[in-house]
Amino acid sequence: MDVSQYLEIFLDETNEHLQNLNTQILSLEQDPENMDTINEIFRAAHSLKGMAGTMGYKRMQTLTHDMENVFSEVRNGNIKVNAGMIDVLFQCLDALEEYNTNIRESSDEGTNDNEPLIKQLNDIMNGGEAADSGAAKEAKPEAYAAKPEGKDADKDSGEGRKWLDITLNDNQQTVLREAVKQGKKVYGLTVKVHESCILKAARAFLVFKAIEENSEIIVSNPSAQDIEDEKFELDFSLVVISDASLDKVIAAAKGVSEIEDVLGGVMDIEAASAAETHQDTAALAAGTVMETAAQTSAEESTAQTSVPAATSAPPAAKKAPANKPAANKPVVNRTVRVDIEKLDTLMNLVSELIIAKNSLVSASAMSGTSSQAVNEQIEYLESVTTSLHESVMKVRMVPIESTVNKFPRMVRDLQKKLGKKMELYMSGEDTELDRTVVDQIGDPLMHLLRNAADHGLESAEVRKERGKPEVGSIFLDAYQDGNNVVIEVRDDGNGIDTEAVKNKAIERGVITPEQGENMSEKEITNLLFNAGFSTAKVVSDVSGRGVGLDVVKSMIESLSGEVEVKSKLGEGSSWIIRLPLTLAIIQALMVDIGNEKYAISLGSIQTIEDISPADVKLVQAKEVIQLRDLVIPLIRLNEILDIESKKDPNENLVVVIVKKGDKYAGLVVDELIGQQEIVIKSLGKYISKCKIISGATVLGDGEVALILDANTLI
C-alpha cells in the first residue's frame, strides 16, 4: 500500500497528538484523578496507534498500543496514576518523538524497539491488575491483540464485521422488531472505503444514498454526523431494514467507486440487543448469528467461517471500548490543511495587487483629470486591498501555542535534572504570529528558558536564605504590542551579576579593563550576546556552553526581531523578544536623497525633525544634534550611499530620527516623499554585499526603490 502521500499529514497529526499527550500527561501529574484528562490521553494514544498502524510503522504502533493499554486500565480504575508511571509515560513520548523524527528524516521509523519501555509499561499493567480481580485481565490483551494488525487482522477474525459492534438502543430495537414482524429483513453492513480515497465523507454519502434506494438505514456507526465530518477511519457500519435481498443491498453499496469492500449479514436483533455486541469479545466465542457472506475476495472468505457471537461478554472488557464513541470529543473547528507554499503564492499575488493599486493611485494623480468618481473608486479599492492583505496575513498566522506547549514538559524535566524547584507560568499562548516565525522561534525561546532555569534560578537553599519562596518561578508571556509581538521570558532568580560579566569579558579579552570602567550596566548585559560567552562556572548538560545567547540573538534578528535583557541583581531578569507581525508588507516612509528614492521602515522611525545647520555640533569630529536632552549622532545618508545631495548646505536639514533599542540616530535626507505601504522584495543572492539595504520594493510607477535598514546604520 502506498502511503507516502499521507506522510506529511501523518507527521503533522502525530506531532499534534504527541503535543496533546505531553500537555495532558503534565496536567494528569497535577490532578491524577481527572477523568477528562485520562479520556483525552486515551483518545490521543488510540489515534496515534491507529495512524501508525495504517502507515505501517509497527514499532511505533506496538509502543502506543501498550501505552493505550495502560491508559485504559487507568480509565477503568484498575491502576492509580503515580509519579513512576508518569515518568515512564514521558519516556514513551520521547521514544515516539524519536520515531517521528526518524520518519520525518528517512520515512522509516528506525530499529529501536524500545523494549525496556514496553516492559515497564507491562509491569505497570500487571501491577495494576494485581490489585484488581476479574475477567478483564484475560480478555483485554487478547481483545487488543486483534486490533493492531489493522487491515491484515480482519482476515482471520471478525474484525471486518464491525456492524456487530453496533449497540442498539431501545427505540432502535423496537423499530427493528417491527420491521421483522412486517416481513422485512434486517441486515448489518460494514463498508470499507479504499485506503487511497480522499473524500471519504463524500463516498460514504454516496453509499448512504445507494443503500437508501431500497432500504432504510436505522443505525450507523460512527454516527451519520461523524461520517459527514469524516470522523471515521476506513470503514463504517450500518444496520438497515430492507425488502431486498442482502446481495442486492451489498451490490448497491459496492456500486459506489472507491469502496473497497462491503461485508454484510442478516442481523439477529435479539442477540444483538441482549449483548451490546462488541467485535473484539465477540470474536472470541462461538456465535449464533447466521451469515450470508458477501465478500468476493478469496482470502477473505475464510472469515465466513468465524461466526461472531453475541454471548454476554466479560463486563470489564467491553466497558472501555464501549465508552469510546460516547466520550465527549473536543469541539474541533472545521479546518483545511493548506500547503504553506500555496499561501506564499497567495501572499505574492496580494503583493502584486498592492503594487498595481499603488500604480493606479499614482497614475490618476499624474493624469490630473481625477474625477470624484475615480477617486472614490480608488479609495474603495484601497480599503479592499488593505483588508485583503490583512486577511491573507491572518491566514498565515498561527498561535504560538504549538511552539510553547512543549515548554512545561521541558521545565519539568529540567527540574529533575537540575535538582531545583521551579514552576513555569505561561500567558498569551493564543498570541498569533506568522507561521514561519512561529516555527523558528521555538529554539531561541528554549535557550532562554534553559538559561533562566540553569543560571537564573538559585537552588532551593539559597532561595530560602534570601527570603524567596523555595519554588522558583519562570514566566513566559506573549502579547501583541502595536505591529509587534512581544515574548517575554522572566525569572525571579538571581539576575545578572554585571560585575561578574564584566570581569569575565575582560578575562576573555572581549573588552579592555578601561572599556569596562566606562560601560553602563546595559552595555555590560549586552555583552552576554557575544559569541563564546558563558559565565556559568561549570559547563552543564542544560546550558553553559556559551553558544546559547549569541545564537538566540542572531536567530531572532534573522526574523527581523530584536531581543533585549533587563535584569536586577538578586531579583531576577527578563528577556524581551520583539517580533514583527508580518515580514512581507510594511508601512514605510519614502524619502528622496539626491534624486534617488529610498524607503525607511516606519517601525524604526521615532520622529522627523527640521534642524537648522547652526544646531549641528561636533563631538569627537562627529556631527551630533541635541534634541530634548538627547545627544543624537547625525548620519548623512548621501555620504553613506555615495550620492551628491542636491540640497543647499545652508538650508535646514530634514532629519529622520530612528531608534534601535535605546540608541538613536538622525538620518539626514534631502526630502520627504510620504508614507506608503510597501511590499518587501529580496534583492536576491546576487546582491548581498550591501548591508545597509535590507531589500527593495516596487513603487507605483514601476520603479524600484531600495529599503534602508536603519538598524545597521546605528
Binding site: S682, G684, Y686, A696, V698, E703, V704
Partner: protein
C-alpha cells in the same frame, strides 16, 4: 537562420553585439529579453553591478557585461537591451548588451573549443568560438560571466 535543425548535436545561440564583436549566448539560459529601462542604482556594490530593475513585480539585479569584461562602459542606445538570464546558482540576472542580432543554430562541429590557458582575462569568459556563415561568434561562458568577483 531560415532552417532550424533540431538534432541532438546542435545548440541554439542568441547572437548579441558588444562593441565590435559578436557574442553568442546559449539559449537555454535565456528567460527573456527586455528593452532598456530605468535601473535603480544599488550603493556599495561592485561597479559592474548596475543596479536592479522591476520585471513584472520581481526585483532583478542587472550587470554590465562590458564593465565585467573590461570594455568601455555602456552607452545606452535605442538598440540596447537587457537579457534576463536564469542561472542555476545565482538565480535570475539581467545583462546589458548593445544589440540583439539573431538566433543561430550551431552544430557541434561548428564550435571550436578554446584552450583555457589564455592569460588574457577577456578570454576567460568564453567557452568556444562558433563558425557560422563565414563569421566568427565568441560563445560566452555565462557561468564565469556572472560569477561574482571575489
Amino acid at each position: 537562420m531560415e532552417e532550424l535543425k533540431v538534432a541532438s548535436e546542435t545548440t541554439q545561440f542568441i547572437v548579441i553585439q558588444l562593441g565590435d564583436e559578436q557574442y553568442g549566448i546559449d539559449i537555454k539560459y535565456i528567460d527573456n529579453i527586455v528593452r532598456m529601462q530605468h535601473i535603480t542604482r544599488v550603493p556599495k556594490v561592485d561597479a559592474y553591478l548596475k543596479g536592479v530593475i522591476n520585471l513584472r513585480g520581481e526585483v532583478i539585479p542587472v550587470m554590465s557585461i562590458r564593465i565585467k569584461m573590461g570594455l568601455e562602459p555602456d552607452v545606452e542606445t535605442k538598440s540596447s537591451r537587457i537579457i534576463i538570464l536564469k542561472m542555476e546558482q545565482q538565480g535570475t540576472i539581467g545583462i546589458i548588451v548593445d544589440e540583439v542580432k539573431e538566433v543561430v543554430t550551431l552544430e557541434n562541429d561548428q564550435i571550436e573549443k578554446i584552450a583555457y590557458d589564455s592569460k588574457d582575462e577577456k578570454d576567460n569568459f568564453l567557452c568556444g568560438i562558433g563558425k557560422c556563415d563565414g563569421s566568427l561568434i565568441s560563445l560566452l561562458d555565462l557561468n564565469s560571466v556572472v560569477l561574482e568577483n571575489v
